[in-house]
């Protein structure tokens, strides 16, 4: 089979360029065969032997559709240019090939699992891309910025090199911010036996600290018995899950769950992040052999839904004007929270304008699956390949796009900037804070 012609602008990625020079073909062959023999088994084999090369998956992929149906972005092409060659040549490939594999699997695929939903046989192409990432990660062929976050996870157990004192300091600062709304509000640290452990991703204390203030207000108004850990284990994000470094992924997930167990909580509620939910709910427990999380994990969307349905949070004044929402793949297509997201959007917005297509058929923000963490070198093609979703946003005519996911938030901000949509991008908690009723006895 002839190699696919893929025209790309040259990208300088220091780590990938350096790894390309140092990798030997023996190393590559050994790692490819090791992963294929020991980690994939019949699943990969059956997928490859069942695929009839019909190309129907291409219709599902926003990379393919946004790039004027460029064949080199079609899901089946991504499999052809990576796994098929590795299997056919039994791992005898060169470093330049592995670099291209990393480019395809890390920077040109969000492992959003939409294509699996359009394959007549249900072949999970995202799974195959994760196998490619696994091979690349074992060969240290990972985009520099992404590897940096993985190193941070490995060294500090959080994504952003947040130091222990900075973490506690940020929480106390945000407790005070919350007290601006509700003077009696507390952000309880290390409260053993609380009902809820609240966990967030590294970027929240690093540069989105106001979200911690928001949750302080929400938890206190709703009267929740909650706590946050003062130790490592507070970060629920997991970039290693996406780079392919599953050993680090497992360490991060284990510590997150063990921290909740140490605090003897009944459930973990996590902030608005999709991949973190995927890591805590599925990928982490599966890799660790637990299968399901030892302590139930509740995503913010489901948590807000419960608070609104039970009346623990009441809405005083709905947000005016048309507002739309991005459907994060990892909590909608891959966790079924679509109807809950629509419920909470309708509950806080006067005019919620839904996306077309919506729910599990909605398109990825094109930042997910780590592509945004691949950093500035890979940004141009990422934003260019989100054209389809930018058109979907534009059609809604909304003034604000709600993104209950950190990856989506940053990705949609890039879309709004890149395509000059002139829309605001907000987390759901930012809307909720504006719209919710603060009972008189709690008011400042």
């Amino acid at each position: 089979m002839k190699p696919t012609i893929a025209i790309r602008e040259p990208v300088v990625d220091d780590l990938m360029d350096q790894t390309e020079k140092s990798l030997t073909e023996d190393q590559i062959e050994k790692v490819i065969n090791e992963v294929i023999d020991q980690e994939t088994g019949v699943r990969l084999q059956t997928y490859v032997n069942t695929c009839i090369h019909c190309g129907l998956c291409s219709e599902a992929c926003h990379w393919f559709l946004s790039n004027d149906r460029d064949v080199s972005f079609a899901p089946v092409t991504k499999v052809k240019d990576t796994i098929w060659v590795m299997l056919e040549k039994k791992g005898k490939v060169d470093a330049a090939f592995i670099k291209r594999c990393s480019q395809i699997a890390h920077t040109e695929c969000n492992v959003c699992r939409r294509c699996g939903m359009y394959c007549p046989f249900g072949i999970d192409i995202a799974y195959m891309m994760l196998v490619v990432r696994r091979i690349c990660a074992k060969l240290e062929m990972v985009p520099l910025y992404l590897q940096d976050t993985v190193n941070s996870h490995a060294a500090t157990m959080n994504q952003m090199w947040v130091k222990p004192d900075e973490w506690i300091d940020t929480l106390q600062w945000q407790e005070e911010e919350g007290q601006g709304y509700v003077p009696s509000a507390r952000l309880p640290l290390e409260k053993e036996g609380a009902e809820i452990m609240y966990s967030v991703i590294g970027p929240e204390p690093k540069f989105l600290a106001q979200l911690l203030g928001n949750i302080t207000v929400i938890m206190n108004v709703a009267g929740c018995d909650w706590t946050m850990p003062a130790t490592a284990g507070w970060d629920n994000s997991n970039m290693a899950m996406y780079s392919g470094d599953f050993e680090v992924m497992a360490r991060v997930e284990r510590l997150h769950h063990e921290t909740a167990q140490r605090l003897k909580v009944k459930k973990i509620v996590m902030g608005e992040c999709g991949h973190a939910f995927r890591g805590g709910e599925y990928d982490g427990p599966t890799w660790l052999g637990w299968m399901s999380p030892p302590i139930p994990i509740v995503h913010a969307v489901a948590f807000y839904y419960d608070l609104l349905v039970s009346g623990r949070i009441k809405i005083a004044k709905k947000v005016e004007g048309p507002v739309t929402a991005q459907y994060p793949c990892n909590i909608i297509r891959n966790a079924g929270l679509g109807s809950k997201l629509r419920y909470i959007m309708n509950a806080v917005c006067e005019d919620f304008v839904d996306l077309v297509p919506n729910d599990r058929h909605a398109f990825c923000c094109n930042a997910g699956g780590d592509t945004i963490n691949c950093g500035p070198p890979w940004k141009k093609i990422r934003v260019q390949s989100a054209r389809l979703q930018s058109e979907n946003f534009k059609r809604t005519g909304a003034h604000t796009i709600v993104t209950p996911c950190h990856n989506c938030h940053s990705g949609v901000e890039d879309i709004v900037d890149g395509y000059k949509l002139g829309m605001h991008v907000k987390f759901f908690s930012e809307l909720l804070i504006e719209a919710m009723e603060i009972p008189e006895d709690l008011q400042a």
Binding site: M1, T4, G41, V42, R43, Q45, T46, Y47, N49, T50, C51, I52, H53, C54, G55, L56, S58, E59, A60, F64, R69, V71, A74, V76, T77, K80, G116, M117, Y118, C119, P120, F121, G122, I123, D124, Y282, T286, G289, M291, I332, R333, N334, A335, G336, R360, H361
Partner: protein, 215 residues
């Protein structure tokens, strides 16, 4: 020659087809056991729900998006499977040799169904040659599989209508049919065996494990 292809070779072809298929499925299932997560991700209900949505035309988003492909695919696969099983000519041979028989298709209907299979193969061939995505992932094996599928029907059609060289064409028809049977478990025609399992896994992962749907 006729005696050989219509006698021992038929037995050999069916033994390889059935034996090979069972072996392939056994091999897959025993390999799947080694993967600690696979079976624990499976659920009968969600597998069935997924299969139902994908075995009924236009019952999922993907099929609705491509109506022509959907119609052609369903017509092609239905005719491909049912024409040989319910063809009067085949049943007469079966009755003569093994004394078993079942309901048969009216000859005119079977003739049209054969034409649909051949037309389907032409559709797939044209698609392979013209659709850039499909073209890019097509190699010799894809054309070979298409030929293996089409030839029994083309030769069958010629033989039934006795268009020319009846005896030779008949031998070719039997031979190509046998090649197809033998090829099923050992080529990507095995999607006939495996699609149930890949579908069930994805349906289960989406439905049972991730509380979503895959259609």
């Amino acid at each position: 020659m006729y005696e050989f292809v219509s006698g021992p070779l038929v037995w050999i072809a069916f033994i390889i087809f059935i034996g090979g298929s069972l072996y392939k499925i056994y091999h897959m299932l025993s390999g799947a056991k080694k993967d600690m997560t696979l079976f624990r991700h499976m659920s009968l209900g969600h597998s069935a729900a997924s299969l139902i949505h994908w075995l009924i035309p236009f019952n999922n988003q993907s099929m609705r998006k491509r109506p022509i492909f959907t119609i052609v695919s369903f017509a092609f696969h239905i005719c491909l499977i049912f024409t040989p099983i319910f063809l009067l000519g085949h049943l007469i041979l079966l009755d003569e040799s093994l004394n078993i028989s079942w309901w048969s298709l009216p000859e005119g209907v079977a003739d049209w169904m054969t034409i649909i299979v051949i037309a389907g193969c032409i559709f797939y061939l044209v698609r392979r040659l013209t659709d850039p995505v499909v073209q890019n992932v097509t190699d010799g094996s894809d054309y070979l599989l298409l030929a293996i599928t089409a030839l029994p029907f083309i030769t069958g059609f010629i033989a039934y209508h006795q268009l020319f060289a009846y005896k030779t064409i008949l031998i070719l028809h039997i031979l190509t049919g046998e090649i197809m049977l033998i090829a099923i478990p050992f080529t990507r025609l095995s999607h006939m065996l495996f699609f149930v399992f890949t579908r069930a896994l994805f349906g289960s992962e989406q439905g049972y494990w991730k509380h979503s749907k895959d259609w």
